[in-house]
């Protein structure tokens, strides 16, 4: 057990964790931030994606201690009070979700994609970049639309 301080959604949060505690456990069980989901436990579905120091990571494969001192952003930290982030708004408007289980990870991964590609973002790139985030419900069409819309690139349909 050791005490850990991680900045989560702009606030320094501390908790006692074991060395082997995963970041996703720290977030879900330690802080009650259950918007970050666990879909596979093995780095393959992307449901647990969060942003750590500006990069999308799968929090089921990051030890909490590795995030010591880092800035972590989760789905709960995206909206500005009542105002949804453009990605959140686009996912909602474009019906880019059904059961919603993949949605938080999908949005966090998309945030990273948009940040890295900026104006160069096209449908092909979104599809390629989101390969590590599985969705079993939507067939991805509306997800791609939502990401492009949020990035200001219009819809491919």
């Amino acid at each position: 057990m050791r005490q850990l301080a991680i900045t989560v959604n702009g606030e320094v949060r501390t908790a006692d964790v074991e060395d082997r505690t995963l970041l996703v456990e720290f977030l879900r069980e330690g802080l009650g931030l259950t918007g970050t989901h666990v879909g596979c436990d093995t780095t393959q579905c992307g449901a647990c994606t969060v942003i750590m120091d500006g990069q999308a990571v799968k929090s089921c494969t990051v030890l909490a201690v590795m995030a010591e001192g880092a800035e972590v952003r989760t789905i709960e930290g995206l909206a500005d009070g009542d105002r949804l982030h453009p990605l959140q708004d686009a996912f909602s408007r474009h019906h880019a979700l059904q059961c919603g289980f993949c949605t938080p990870g999908m949005i966090m991964a998309s945030l990273d994609v948009i940040e890295r590609h900026g104006a160069d973002l096209d449908a092909q790139t979104v599809r390629h970049e989101l390969e590590g985030n599985l969705c079993r419900c939507t067939g991805y069409h509306n997800i791609v639309k939502a990401v492009l819309d949020a990035a200001g690139r219009g819809s491919p349909r």
């Binding site: 596979c40 093995t42 019906h95 919603g100 289980f101 079993r136 067939g139």
Partner: protein, 815 residues
């Protein structure tokens, strides 16, 4: 009116902010225990010795249970009472739960399980269809056979004949949210269960049985699932029972979540099938007679296999009028996970059989498969009375006795239940007007609503099928390595539970004195948008916007005796039940207000958030307050049962379906003949949702269904090794479609036309039918492979690159 509007999912805002709660997100109650199963490491045999001392002493462990430590057999079966939660000495499959551990944390429970020392005595496992046939290992006492006309004779005397066989693999549901349950002990020995389930009543029944409680001692609540697809119709029973047993034994809350690998190893999947066929046809490809032998690999327990295999038989015609047909169905018992419900429920397998025949016939004649399909379509719907004709009731030779009869503690709310008296042969038949001009299905139901001719014409035009087919042929002629292929295939899917008595639903609606409304019904939300659709119905009845309606979690304490949210029936049944409840309240309000304002109740209108009574216009809230003060009951239940159904599953005769839902898809692929790899270049879909309750949600179901269907026939391969161990038990080895697999061009349109039957706002069910649009991808691959030679590709599903490569080889080596 709020119906027919493309409103977002009711919980969209909760989902995008991470606030939507799944079972695992419910704040863990104090002192909660976490559970894990210890699994069998052999497929068949007996436990020689079992030593769980180390498990008991592992850190954090609070309790360990084997089968004989449980309060009962803790049966998990939705049908034949043949699934004890823990194996006991006899092992039926690799991954079967043998013991249960409760510990203070999820990790502690999972680690403790590994400390078990179990010696197994193995026997030869029955793993494949051939193993099962050789060992006569099956459910029911023989194959089920339905027929119409003399298929053998028709085939033998037909100008042309083909025969062949298609294998189709199973499919893992891969709901993103794994199976999860949480049980919390209540006062007086009662239990509250939160479960990720499509069938709360089933969980309630099984938990009550396990703990020897009456059903009123168990309350089950389901707010939402992170995907279900049929995988949460019966497969969550074990977790809920385990949690309830531990909660009852220890007095502490208990939670269980399968980790993804365990979920793959323990739970059932789609049935894999082999279908052998023989068909006779004329020069136009019109099928004169066809015979199918369907072999379903059902796994170790009966689960829902009988109705699944029935539905495969019921869809052996798909969209085609087959004058003579014989369908023989074998339900085989194997030492593998117990195959279960999965979107389409056997329909996809049956349909793939006849689609394969159409493809093969066209190849034999060298014609366009679409022409053959059209030549075989049922006659177009006439503008006649839409009521279904009565069932011709010819006796069935050699129909095996139904031995699936009522078992002890039979749960009649599951699809595995036995037919009730009203559904048995000889029961009184509802009177119906005969419509003799309609063609009938192999099981005798008149097809009165067939719209695929017009739909196919439109899709052919919109997708530019004919021209693209020519272009592709020309392109293929000068492209030695890459070959393209195209196919347009139809879907006709029967809507209703085939166990007639399940076609009922209840609802509970409260109007509060401020005019806000709480609505509850027996359906569960798994992402399909059911809650939003039903809320739109309720809002429309009261002339309000959907925000005025609070949709509450499915709860067995509010609406009892519900059917599973399955068979695509969610909005059809629950929408009607909610409408009935709303109308009861509305009528009471109208009567009271009319009396107050001295006018006729019939003239009271609920519209635009207001109630118009004579010349007065009240806000809905004011109207509710007035009614409350006038001592009017503002709460009502609602009930609905689908009319006109009658079905004899032993004879295979009757009207099992209220109506059919239709669709068609055109898919184009390109195949690399050096590697067998391929891409979907374009997909065009036209689908029939009747008058859509919510076009945005319906289109979502269609897109998602198509992609999932494509996954089934292309990349999703389940592999068991020779020991019966499932080798593809994680997304690393089991490949569901990813974002990059999506077709480059993807057009989805809704067919505009009302349901001929009187369904909720004349809409049609949409959950399962689009899944089978994915079959067009397999047929397009077959088309592309055909470009390599003259032999028929005989492509099996899933058509993985390996299979495609060997099919190319076959076609090239052929004549």
């Amino acid at each position: 009116m709020s119906v027919s509007k493309p409103l977002p999912h009711d919980a969209a805002r909760l989902h995008v902010t991470g606030a939507a709660r799944y079972v695992d997100d419910i704040p863990t109650p104090a002192r909660c225990l976490h559970l894990a199963f210890g699994l069998s490491q052999v497929a068949a045999g007996r436990i020689k010795s079992i030593d769980l001392e180390a498990v008991r002493h592992a850190p954090g462990v609070v309790g360990v249970w084997e089968a004989n430590d449980l309060p009962s057999d803790c049966d998990c079966s939705p049908s034949a009472h043949d699934e004890p939660m823990l194996s006991g000495k006899t092992i039926h499959y690799f991954g079967q739960p043998v013991f249960l551990v409760a510990a203070t944390s999820y990790l502690a429970a999972r680690k403790a399980v590994k400390a078990a020392e179990i010696l197994f005595e193995t026997r030869d496992a029955i793993l494949t269809i051939d193993d099962a046939l050789a060992a006569e290992s099956r459910f029911e006492d023989g194959p089920r056979v339905w027929s119409k006309g003399d298929a053998g004779e028709a085939i033998d005397t037909a100008p042309h004949r083909i025969e062949g066989e298609i294998e189709m693999g199973g499919q893992e549901h891969f709901y993103l949210e794994g199976q999860t349950a949480l049980a919390i002990p209540q006062e007086g020995g009662d239990i509250l269960v939160h479960a990720s389930t499509q069938h709360p009543t089933e969980i309630q029944h099984k938990v009550a049985h396990a703990l020897h409680l009456p059903m009123h001692g168990v309350r089950v609540e389901t707010r939402r699932m992170g995907g279900g697809f049929g995988g949460k119709e019966s497969q969550g029973n074990a977790l809920a029972i385990a949690c309830a047993v531990v909660a009852a034994k220890t007095g502490r809350p208990a939670k269980m979540r399968y980790d993804r690998d365990d979920d793959f190893m323990i739970t059932g999947k789609r049935h894999d099938f082999r279908i052998a066929y023989r068909a006779g046809f004329d020069a136009e490809g019109r099928v004169l007679g066809v015979e199918f032998v369907q072999y379903a690999r059902c796994g170790w327990a009966q689960d829902l296999s009988l109705p699944v295999a029935d539905r495969a038989m019921l869809h052996a015609d798909n969209a085609y009028h087959l004058p003579a047909i014989r369908i023989e169905s074998h339900r085989l018992r194997t030492n593998t996970q117990s195959a279960t419900a999965f979107r389409g429920f056997g329909g996809p397998q049956g349909m793939l059989g006849i689609e394969r025949v159409m493809d093969h016939v066209a190849h034999h004649l060298g014609t366009d498969p679409l022409a053959v399909r059209r030549a075989n379509y049922y006659a177009a719907a006439q503008d006649v009375d839409a009521g279904g004709g009565p069932a011709p009731r010819s006796a069935q030779p050699n129909a095996p006795r139904d031995i699936s009869g009522p078992k002890k503690d039979a749960d009649s709310t599951t699809r595995g239940a036995s037919p009730t008296v009203s559904q048995m042969p000889g029961a009184p038949q509802p009177d119906r007007v005969r419509a003799p001009q309609h063609q009938t299905t192999p099981y005798g139901q008149a097809v009165t609503d067939f719209i695929l001719h017009a739909m196919t014409d439109r899709l052919e035009r919109d997708a530019d099928y004919t021209k693209r087919r020519e272009t592709i042929a020309a392109w293929n002629a000068q492209s030695p390595v890459l070959k393209r292929g195209i196919a347009l295939t139809p879907v006709k899917f029967g809507i209703s539970f085939t166990l007639t008595h399940l076609n009922q639903a209840g609802a509970l609606v409260h109007v509060y004195q401020d005019g806000s409304i709480a609505m509850n019904h027996g359906g569960t939300e798994m992402g399909q948008g059911l809650f939003q659709k039903v809320a739109q119905v309720a809002a429309s009845r009261f002339g309000l916007s959907p925000e005025a309606i609070r949709i509450t979690a499915t709860d067995t304490a509010k609406v009892p005796n519900t059917s599973a949210t399955a068979a695509s029936s969610g909005s059809d049944l629950n929408g009607m039940a909610v409408k009935a409840a709303c109308d009861t309240i509305r009528d009471r309000m109208a009567e009271h207000l009319a009396r107050l304002y001295q006018t006729e109740p019939g003239t009271v209108r609920f519209a635009d958030g207001h109630v118009h009574v004579g010349d007065a216009v009240l806000s809905f809230g004011e109207a509710a307050t007035l009614c409350y003060e006038g001592r009017v009951s503002l709460s009502s239940t609602g009930f609905y049962k689908t009319p006109g159904l009658q079905w004899d599953r032993i004879k295979g005769r009757g009207r099992p379906f209220f109506y059919f839902a239709y669709g068609a898809a055109c898919t184009e692929v390109v195949v690399d003949s050096l590697t067998g790899e391929y891409r979907i270049l374009r997909a065009d879909i036209l689908h029939d949702c009747g008058t859509s309750l919510n076009p945005a949600l319906d289109i979502g179901q269609i897109e998602g269904g198509y992609v999932q269907g494509v996954g089934w026939v292309t990349t999703e391969e389940l592999v068991w090794d020779s020991e019966g161990r499932l080798r593809t038990h994680a997304p690393s080895t089991y490949k569901i479609p990813a974002c990059s697999d999506r077709p480059d061009v993807f057009h989805v349109a809704l067919w505009d036309g009302a349901n001929r039957e009187d369904t909720i706002y004349r809409s049609k069910a949409v959950g399962e039918p689009p899944f089978m649009l994915g079959i067009s991808a397999l047929m397009a691959l077959s088309d592309a492979i055909s470009a390599h030679g003259s032999r028929y590709p005989d492509l099996h599903a899933p058509a993985t690159p390996e299979r495609v490569l060997s099919a190319i080889q076959r076609v090239r080596d052929g004549d």
